[in-house]
C-alpha cells in the first residue's frame, strides 16, 4: 500500500488572546499510520490536535496563522466548511462522552445527521461500527440500553464506534485512555494498533506512544521539537530537549 500525506500543517501558529500556544508548526502526517503527539502539559499538543477538525472555533479570542491541509484541501480557507471537515475527521475525547441515549442511538447519531434514515441501513451501520471498534460481541444484545450503563472502557469504545460510523478519513484521539483503568486501556490500545486507519493520538504517556505509534511528534512550549519514526525518536533522539523529556529529566 502506498502511503501518502493526509495532513499537512503549514507554518501554524495559534493564539489564545495574547498567549501564543503554538509557534510555526510544520508537520506532515501519513495515511494509515498511527501518529502520537507527546509532551508535557500545556505544550500545545491538544491545541494542535483540535485545530485539525476545527474544534477550537468556539474558543473566544483565539486566532490562527498559517493553514492546515487535509488531502491537499485547506481546513481554514474560505471554501472550507467546518461541519463537513468534522464529518471527515472523527474525534474521540479524553473522557468517554456518550450521549444519554441508547447504544444504538449513539452510534446512529452521525449517520442520521448525514441523512441515513432507513432502519435496515442503520442496523448495518451500527453493526459495522461496533465490529470495527471491537465492541460488537460485548454489546450486541444490549443495543437498546443506555450507553451510561456500560463500563468506562466500553463507553470509550462506544465513542470510538460512534466516530467510526461516519467512516472518517482520519481519527483524532485526545488522551483517550487517561480516564480508563489498565485493562480498558489495553483494549483501546489493542484496537488502535489493529485498526489499520489513519489515527492521530495525543498522549501524556510516553510508554503508550512507544507501544502503539508509528511516528511520534514531541511538542514543547508550543514548538514542535522533533518528529520522526517512533523507534528512532525514543532510541536516538536528535534534540537534547527530546532526550531530556523521554529520559524523564523534565516534564
Amino acid at each position: 500500500m502506498v502511503e501518502q500525506v493526509i495532513i499537512e500543517a503549514k507554518d501554524v501558529s495559534f493564539f489564545y488572546g495574547q498567549f501564543q500556544a503554538l509557534r510555526n508548526i510544520n508537520l506532515e502526517i501519513m495515511s494509515k499510520e498511527v501518529t502520537a503527539f507527546i509532551g508535557p502539559s500545556g505544550c500545545g499538543k491538544s491545541t494542535f490536535l483540535k485545530l485539525l477538525n476545527r474544534m477550537n472555533d468556539f474558543v473566544v479570542g483565539a486566532r490562527l496563522a498559517g493553514d492546515i491541509l487535509i488531502y491537499g484541501s485547506s481546513v481554514y480557507g474560505r471554501e472550507a466548511d467546518p461541519v463537513d471537515i468534522r464529518r471527515r475527521v472523527g474525534m474521540v475525547f479524553q473522557r468517554p462522552n456518550p450521549f444519554p441515549k441508547s447504544i444504538y442511538d449513539n452510534i446512529c447519531y452521525g449517520p442520521r445527521l448525514v441523512g441515513v434514515r432507513k432502519p435496515a441501513d442503520l442496523d448495518i451501520v451500527v453493526e459495522k461500527a461496533l465490529r470495527a471498534a471491537a465492541l460488537w460481541d460485548e454489546v450486541k444484545d444490549l443495543l437498546g440500553k443506555s450507553a451510561f450503563e456500560l463500563s468506562g472502557g466500553q463507553q470509550q469504545r462506544v465513542c470510538i464506534a460512534r466516530a467510526l460510523a461516519l467512516e472518517p478519513d482520519i481519527l483524532l484521539m485526545d488522551e483517550p485512555t487517561s480516564a480508563l483503568d489498565p485493562i480498558a486501556t489495553a483494549k483501546v490500545e489493542e484496537w488502535i494498533k489493529s485498526a489499520g486507519m489513519s489515527i492521530v493520538i495525543v498522549t501524556h504517556n510516553m510508554q503508550q506512544a512507544a507501544r502503539i505509534s508509528d511516528r511520534t511528534a514531541f511538542f514543547y512550549m508550543g514548538e514542535l521539537v522533533e518528529f520522526g519514526p517512533t523507534l528512532e525518536l525514543f532510541t536516538s533522539p536528535k534534540e537534547v530537549r527530546t532526550e531530556n523529556y523521554i529520559t524523564g529529566r523534565f516534564g
Binding site: N53, R86, R87, N97, Y109, G110, S146, F148, L166
Partner: protein, 291 residues
Amino acid sequence: MYLTGYTKTARQRREKAALLLIRSLAGLVLTVLAAILVYILVCGLPTVNWSFLTSFPQNAMTSGGILPAIVGTFGLAVGSMAISLPLGFGAAIYLSDYAKPGHLVNAIRLGVSNLAGVPSVVFGLFGLSLFVTTFGFGRSLLSGCLTLGLLTLPTVTASAEEALRQTPLSFREAALALGANRWQAVRQVILPAALPGMLTGAILALGRAAGETAPIMLTAVTAYSPILPDSIFNEVMALSTHVYVLATNGNNILQTRPQQFGTSLVLLALVLSLSLVAVIIRAKLRRGRKW
C-alpha cells in the same frame, strides 16, 4: 499528624448537636406546612362535593358552586404557560448556547433575575395599561394570560438556563465533532438532556400563575359570572380572586367561610394536580438519563 484541639468525644458531641439543630429546623418547616394543609383540608372538605365543583354561585355567591372559577383559573394557568414556556425556553437557549459571553448577556441575565423580584401587582398594572387598554384586549382571559405569562417568564427563563448550563460541555463537543451544527446539537442532545430540569422551573411557574391574585384582578377577572367563557376575550372568574371577594366584600363574610375554605382547597388541589402532570412528564423524560 494533626492534633485537633479537642477530644474525640467533644467532636462527636458537636456533630450530634449540629445534626439535632438541622433536624429540628427541617421538622419545624414541615410542621408549619402540614398544619396549613390540614387546616385547609379540615375546614374545606365539608364544603367540597360534586355539586360545589360543577355548579354556578347562587344567592349573591353565598351558596352554590364555583365551576366558573375553576374553569377560569385552569384557563389562566394553562394559557399563561403557553406564553411563558416557549418564550422562556427560547431565551434560555439563547443565553446558554448562542450568546457570546460579555456585558450584554450579563445585563440580560441581571434583568431577568431582577424581573423575578418585581411585585406581582406591578405586572398587573403593566398588563392593565398595555394589554387591556393600549392593545384593546379589554379585561379578558387573553389579557390575564399575557400578564401572568410575563410574570412567570423570569422564573421559567432563569431555571431553564440553569438546567441547560448544567448539561455537560462534553455533550456539545461530541455532537459538534460528529458534524452537527449548533442548532442540531441543541435540539437533539442538549435539550432532551436538560428538559427534566427545565420542567422543574415550569412547575414552580405554573403554581405561581394559578395562585396569583393581584395581577388578574386588574386584567382578567370579574367578581361574578353567570356563564362560562366561550372566547379568550371574555372576562373570567378565578379561584384566588373568588376567595378574596368572599373574604372581603359583601354582607355575609362569616357565613361564606365554608365556601372560602372549599375554594382554597380546590385551588390547592388544582395546582397540585397540574404540577403532578408535569412531574409525571419529567419522570418519563428522566428515565434512563443518568450522567
